[in-house]
């Protein structure tokens, strides 16, 4: 069969004679630097687009695969479908106006954006957030991590056709979203951690309802352990798939669970503790085999550890105290020239904000470092070679990528 493009997808071309800014790049001469010389007309290869309209793709991105038989010989990640230009938009918003839009950068786990942005602003403005606010921030980040992992487990099982896990985990994720809702009033975008502190304290009876939710999550997790992790077919699919050599960890900037599954105990919570993590009792979860199964297992155990951390936080956090530091009038808030980088360990790896100020009331430059940026692009394009078509979705999900943080 000759080359047939997937009809839901269509590559781009630029009509000639369009006026172009000299600095904008001229793609008409773009050369595809591929490792292989692939002659599509030979009938041996097939070009296959997966996504953006594809249930096996994590969100709105696409993979351009060249397959030979059932085997992928080359894969390219295409992103940009969700680009909103956050980094540009924030340059024309005041520091407090940036606060409601940062959480929109990463949808399934928005709280890390709020924390990193708030902490970066506080550091450059020389503000210290109160201790009780730090405890609540840690609580929210750990709750968000549990949410994100629950979403992931459903996706990982679903990528191999085990849909029922997704039903169960989404059910408990909804319970967790209820806790978020009573805390912040919103399910997805909480907008709770603002520069200077947090918006509010815990509502009455929150600890007890939280405990009930955690017990329910643990119960479902033990079911997930039986049905997913001890399932012979799941093991058959996941064990040995998508092996990341530990030597690739540093060159490819791999962080978070993929790195920990390779036996490298990379965890920002331990390496450069922030918020109240130094006072909490935990050890980074690591694995050894560095395949899809180990990554899923590391995340499952990390989830259980987060449940334990939430319990520790609720038991030890101060019940009284201020929630907001004194911040200047937000309408005339100017921050002196400086630059900083704030990082945190989100469920996918190292999440960071690079903030540059120039003494005006607006950020000079904000750069978001999402873990998917390195995982889904360079690493994915390397891992996907020689992978079976059937395993592409499982492999992509196992890197836990969220495209909005790649393109912002």
């Amino acid at each position: 069969m000759a080359y047939q493009p997937d009809r839901s997808q269509y590559p781009a071309r630029r009509p000639d004679g369009l006026s172009r800014h000299p600095a904008s790049r001229d793609t008409s001469t773009a050369l595809c630097v591929g490792s292989l010389d692939i002659d599509l007309a030979s009938g041996k290869y097939l070009k296959l687009w997966q996504g953006p309209n594809h249930p096996g793709i994590t969100g709105n991105m696409s993979l351009e695969l060249t397959v030979c038989g059932d085997e992928v010989v080359e894969g390219k990640t295409h992103v940009g479908y969700l680009h909103r230009g956050f980094e540009k938009l924030m340059e024309r918003r005041t520091f407090i106006q940036c606060f409601p839009i940062v959480c929109r950068i990463c949808v399934p786990e928005p709280d890390f954006n709020e924390y990193c942005y708030a902490a970066a602003v506080e550091e450059l403005a020389g503000i210290q957030s109160p201790e009780r606010a730090d405890w609540i921030r840690t609580l929210i980040l750990e709750m968000g991590r549990i949410n994100s992992y629950l979403m992931y487990l459903g996706g990982q099982a679903g990528a191999f056709g085990l849909g029922v896990i997704g039903q169960w985990t989404t059910y408990v994720r909804d319970l967790m979203l209820d806790r978020f809702e009573e805390l912040s009033g919103a399910r997805i975008y909480h907008m709770f951690i603002l520069p200077g502190g947090v918006r509010d304290g815990l509502p009455d009876g929150f600890e007890q309802r939280m405990e009930e939710t955690l017990v329910e999550i643990e119960r479902v997790m033990s079911d997930v352990l039986d049905v997913m992790f001890r399932n012979a077919v799941f093991k058959k699919r996941a064990v040995g798939l998508g092996y990341i050599d530990p030597a690739l960890i540093e060159p490819y900037g791999v962080t978070g669970p993929p790195a920990r599954a390779a036996g490298v105990a990379k965890d920002v919570r331990k390496d450069q503790p922030y918020l109240v993590y130094p006072q909490l009792d935990f050890e980074p979860v690591t694995g050894a085999d560095s395949d899809v199964y180990t990554r899923a297992d590391v995340r499952r155990r990390d989830l259980l550890m987060s449940i334990d951390l939430v319990r520790q936080i609720l038991a030890r956090m101060p019940k009284e105290g201020p929630l907001m530091a004194k911040i200047p009038n937000v309408l005339h808030w100017k921050i002196p020239r400086g630059e900083t980088y704030i990082r945190g360990e989100c469920s996918r790896g190292e999440y960071g904000y690079y903030l540059v100020t120039d003494g005006s009331g607006y950020p000079r430059r904000v750069n978001v470092r999402g873990p998917s940026y390195t995982h889904a692009m360079a690493l994915m394009e390397r891992l996907i070679v020689n992978c079976n078509i059937a395993d592409v979705a499982g492999l992509l999900v196992s890197l836990h990528t969220y495209p909005p943080e790649i393109e912002r």
Binding site: Q4, D6, F160, G161, L162, G166, R237, A390
Partner: protein, 301 residues
């Protein structure tokens, strides 16, 4: 037994009952599957509405003649299979045209629809359809092998190829069923049955996360409605064969409904609890587990 004109309205009546039962049964199965996932599930009459909607869509496009004929072949495979096996044992009304066809014809019809579909989906030109077809045909070859062996074992055991006579030989007591007289053949056939029901771990033809959704990707409107109709007839027709060969047939409609439901439920239970195999894993599984059972069944007979 010879042909009478009255048999044609009788078979159409069977077809009508089976279509309605199939629509309700598939919805019920979806509901049971949904209960595993803690959901309430679709309304029991949802399949009727979907069918009407798909027939009622205003536009449809075609990719060529075979694209038209694919669903037609598929449906005729399902209907033909149903019509040439006796639905209710001992009933003149619902024995259909089974006097004219034997086991070999039934086996042929099992394959026929899938082949027609492969041709039609191939013409749709979608790469996912092409991959789905190649997956489907290779898996079907592996999965039908143990079934064919089991069928031969049964045919040898009863020394006949007529389905009616096989059913007749199993009447009398539950212990007369092939299930108890030749358990290896039944086991081989039931494993093969899993492979043909399009449920995990053997749903690699549809595989929504891998090649959404395989051969039917390009099908829509009335083509899809035809395929939906087939999707409710064909599994039941196949289950009728299994029921007749291995589980003593059915002497009345209530028994028929119950047995079909239980056999269908078997594939559902396996389906909700397992992820999907890869192609080569699936084929290897059939060759390693189901095929030896079929050979043992033949040897023992």
């Amino acid at each position: 037994m010879h042909f009478e004109w009255m048999m044609i309205p009788y078979s159409l009546l069977t077809l009508f009952i089976v279509v309605n039962y199939g629509l309700l049964l598939t919805a019920l199965m979806q509901k049971i599957g949904a209960r595993v996932g803690r959901r309430y599930g679709i309304p029991i009459w949802q399949n009727y509405i979907d069918l009407v909607k798909n027939y009622g869509l205003r536009s449809s496009i075609t990719h060529g003649v075979m694209f038209y004929l694919g669903p037609v072949f598929r449906l005729s495979g399902g209907v033909g299979l149903l019509l040439f096996v006796p639905t209710i044992y001992g009933s003149v009304m619902f024995s259909n045209l089974s006097f004219a066809g034997d086991l070999i014809l039934a086996l042929y019809f099992v394959f026929f629809g899938a082949l027609g579909m492969a041709l039609g989906a191939g013409e749709s030109g979608h790469p996912h359809a092409a991959i789905g077809v190649s997956r489907g045909l290779s898996q079907m070859t592996a999965a039908e092998l143990p079934f064919a062996l089991a069928v031969f074992a049964v045919a040898l055991q009863y020394q006949t190829l007529s389905i009616t006579e096989i059913v007749a030989a199993q009447q009398g007591a539950v212990l007369h069923w092939t299930l108890f007289t030749n358990p290896f053949a039944v086991a081989a056939a039931m494993l093969s049955f899993l492979g043909s029901m399009m449920r995990p771990p053997f749903d690699l033809v549809l595989a929504p996360q891998e090649i959404p959704i395989g051969p039917p990707t390009e099908y829509h409107s009335s083509y899809l409605a035809l395929m939906q109709t087939n999707r409710v007839i064909f599994p039941i027709a196949k289950i009728v064969i299994y029921m007749n060969l291995f589980f003593g047939g059915a002497a009345s409609w209530p028994v028929f409904f119950l047995k079909v439901f239980l056999i269908y439920l078997f594939s559902l239970f396996v389906g909700v609890a397992f992820p999907r195999f890869r192609v080569e894993q699936s084929i290897r599984w059939f060759l390693v587990w189901a095929l030896p059972l079929g050979i043992v069944a033949i040897v023992l007979v």
